[in-house]
Symmetry: C3
Subunit: 377 residues, 3 copies
């Protein structure tokens, strides 16, 4: 009996890069850093690098654990489209839910992912990206609000959820109430006046970010669309201590009253906090996306901590793959392996029945996501 | 040689419910949430549910891991008094120290626990509950102080310790000095004026909570009564990031100067912080109550983290059982198993002698509690 | 194939005590507490005590796990110089980098360590200690600045790095910019006026601590000297929640721009945070010094968490040994064993090749330290 042959829904990922990826770009996509590895060091000598060399190489007909140079050479020869196709298919998921709000032009769209992988893909709309799109086109604060709300509504028509990167932009340690219209308008005026002509807009003012969240909540409420929140691990933009999701308790509680599911993404190193929030709030869900493949050989510990406390109806799968289709594959691979390994040990030790283990595996792998995102896959 | 046959003192628990418990109530008592599990999900499909089905079922002559419905049916047939008796006895502890400050009327009193279990029970007085009792009867702030101090003194006469839920009521991230009398009086007047007629009083103002703590400390000092502090995991009332006990360092230090033992309860996900505080402060102690049975199949990791760093003279056992006598039993069971498992592995690996392991087991199981609570059991 | 025979550089330690150490002093040096263990308890019944009895005893021809009294008796008979020599040699490291800023007179100097151990020792200069040295001699704030900067420059001439204990003195949760000269001067005047005649100076004002850090950075920049930062575990001086190194993100980022390596020391219980910072900032490095021998039988978990995420080019070895040469030995011993154990399991499971494991072992054991401290050992 194995637990790794269940349908799997990747409830949070990004597209893979469409163009060829050279060694430097590959190294950059293997890191959350804005800078290259220090001089004299190997950027691939890290757990994620070992995982790629071990598990991805065979899909390119390269020997497992061959040097990264051999891997990248072969990857180049195979070409980006076939590489993307191969890994997206190998992930063997039922469905991809794709965050389209970051580096949209360079990455595969949900439709392209669908076409390459052969399975349905759905869009998750990033609130801040929509706001940044309209900011430069608005003739006034009122026009900004009108345009933002209209575009977000439009974009969500075919989306299965929304996403916010509030933690990146202003941390969770902020006032979480809906800002007043006049505060939003004043904040917009400052934002626009401080963004140099020709520069793209980046929303960081907590007032505007909160405004976006609450407009998103208004939209999500009647349809019970989930709102995804980035938590924890990320790039140097983040003040990690203030990305503990328990700083966002007030907002979670407000969304509970509105019956809007909130999914806490990644959560490292706050997995226990996220699982606890999922235990106490009816509407809160969590995953350990990104960290399973980033930790590779240590992925079991991440899964184990995620399985400690919370109801199994609250835990979900995401790869959080970005840029490299290897990550769509590795995310699914490590998820299946570590979940199966732990459930098998529980059955062996008599901690649960085979039937329990199957139910748990199904719930975490797909049922929970299918239920809250209202998917028909 | 086993390490699980030593006397065990449960230094922090609550009573079990006296009336019959229906399925919904049972589910509610199995969770820290204020709301039921999401529609379409099984409230028992969680680690704690598996633990009950696995370990508690045999005590009701139900097959291990039988469906929860079968368990609850049989539980109902056996009846609450016998269920309470059976699990309290099966916990096989030497003594229960009972926090009587929450849901007092519905739960077994220390005397009733003693009668059902056949072992001595002692009372731990919850400071905030005593304060809330007198708040409505006071004719003035001065009268409030007089009544509170008199009642707390009275209640502590036969108690073995005090408890505070300061973390719940206003977090640990507060000023920790003794408030002035005039500040207390002003805070009381606000409190009373803001509590609607007929509503029960709930103390949340940090000034009043601190006042209670310091009056408790005055009382505890001459008798060296321990003060228990709730830390970490709890219900949605808590702002978890601010329940890190290292936020309460100033108070711990003040109590060290007064030679008052402070016991940090539960501590998840701050077990390492609590153990470190117990290493550096002579008067600080900790347990991993509640989390062992809440994590069930993952309990070993909780025990292991608790055993990492601190002197074995500072670690203690509590079940933090509330409402369901299954938890008194499971708390003791998982404690014994996980402690024995780790000590056996240490002996096997030569990390300590059998004699060391016995001393460690005795210290954590009972000696530390017996010493600081000055018990004659 | 073993991974524990590689050159090892202890990039952060202190000297061992030169005089004989009686039982009380030994107990004190085995703890981070300012006070003795509670009455009626054994100060050695802790993981660190078991580790000493198990692993250090044979070097004094005492049976492993013999009672601590037997160990201490023999230790006394052998005498401090020979004890120091034996354990420093047994550590079998290539080089010691010694923080000379705490209890300087009682401890072995780098030269004495070199002489006893037979391997080169280098000095790391503690910024705050230098500042405290000159504070009493300055005739004015301007003179203080001149004297401090001159002495720090002088002291660094032959040093391989600097160290700051900013986390101890004012936590990481502070403004991290360079303070203005007038703010420094005003802070110095307050400091001096508040330090009683004849009392030694202790710098705690964040303005002065930041001033020291930035002067240190000025000095470090042209030579790319690393700056070490104490993080996490320490004595009761610390407010642990505010010693999370992610509170110091702004300073880390500034030092990245200046290309100054920052080494985060100890990091317990923030190892994951430190490893993540090392992933995202080109200039950040980390170790799990002190905690490996402090946790002893649980050291593997500490190493495992340190190996989860970060590039292997960012992880380093330190013992953080202070006072007892047993810790220089135990630090190296637990580091070697736990690293070798994990790498062997990775090779066995096919997670990396033998060659990868050797490269990883070499990088963490010595190459990283050799590179950033620019050592010729």
């Amino acid at each position: 009996m194995t637990y790794d042959n269940f349908p799997l829904i990747d409830h949070h990922c990004h597209g893979a890069v469409k163009k060829p990826v050279d060694t430097d770009s590959f190294a950059r996509l293997m890191s959350e850093s804005f800078r290259p590895a220090p001089e004299g060091t190997d950027p691939f000598l890290k757990p994620l690098g070992l995982a790629v060399r071990k598990h991805c190489a065979p899909l390119l007909d390269v020997d497992p654990l061959a040097p990264m140079s051999a891997y990248l050479e072969k990857r180049d020869a195979v070409g980006p489209e076939e590489v993307n196709r191969r890994f997206l298919k190998a992930a063997n998921v039922t469905s991809f839910l794709v965050d389209t709000g970051h580096c949209t032009d360079e990455l595969l769209s949900p439709a392209e992912i669908e076409s390459l992988s052969g399975v349905p893909s759905f869009e998750v709309v990033r609130i801040e990206a929509v706001m940044e799109t309209v900011a430069g086109q608005a003739s006034s604060a009122a026009d900004f609000r009108q345009k933002f709300e209209a575009l977000l509504f439009e974009r969500c028509k075919n989306a299965v959820g929304l996403k916010s990167v509030v933690a990146y932009r202003c941390t969770f340690a902020i006032d979480q109430t809906r800002p007043s219209q006049s505060d939003v308008d004043a904040a917009f005026d400052v934002w626009r006046s401080q963004t140099p002509e020709g520069k793209s807009f980046r929303v960081e003012d907590p007032i505007l970010v909160r405004y976006g969240l609450w407009v998103g909540a208004d939209l999500a409420r009647p349809r019970r669309l989930p709102i995804q929140l980035h938590v924890g691990i990320g790039d140097p933009d983040v003040y990690m201590h203030a990305c503990d999701p328990t700083h966002f308790t007030d907002f979670l509680r407000d969304m509970e009253a509105w019956e809007i599911p909130i999914t806490l993404l990644h959560n490292y190193p706050f997995v226990r906090e996220a699982a606890w929030l999922s235990e106490i709030f009816q509407n809160v869900y969590y995953d350990v996306g990104v960290i399973l493949h980033f930790t590779g050989a240590s992925a079991q510990r991440q899964m184990d901590e995620a399985l400690e406390l919370a109801p199994f109806s609250k835990h979900m799968f995401s790869s959080d793959a970005f840029g490299l289709p290897e990550f769509h594959y590795l995310g699914a691979l490590f998820f299946r392996r570590t979940l199966a390994h732990r459930l098998e040990s529980w059955v062996r030790d008599g901690a649960c029945t085979i039937n329990d283990a199957e139910q748990i595996a199904k719930a975490i792998s797909a049922d929970n996501a299918r239920r809250i995102y209202q998917l028909e896959v």
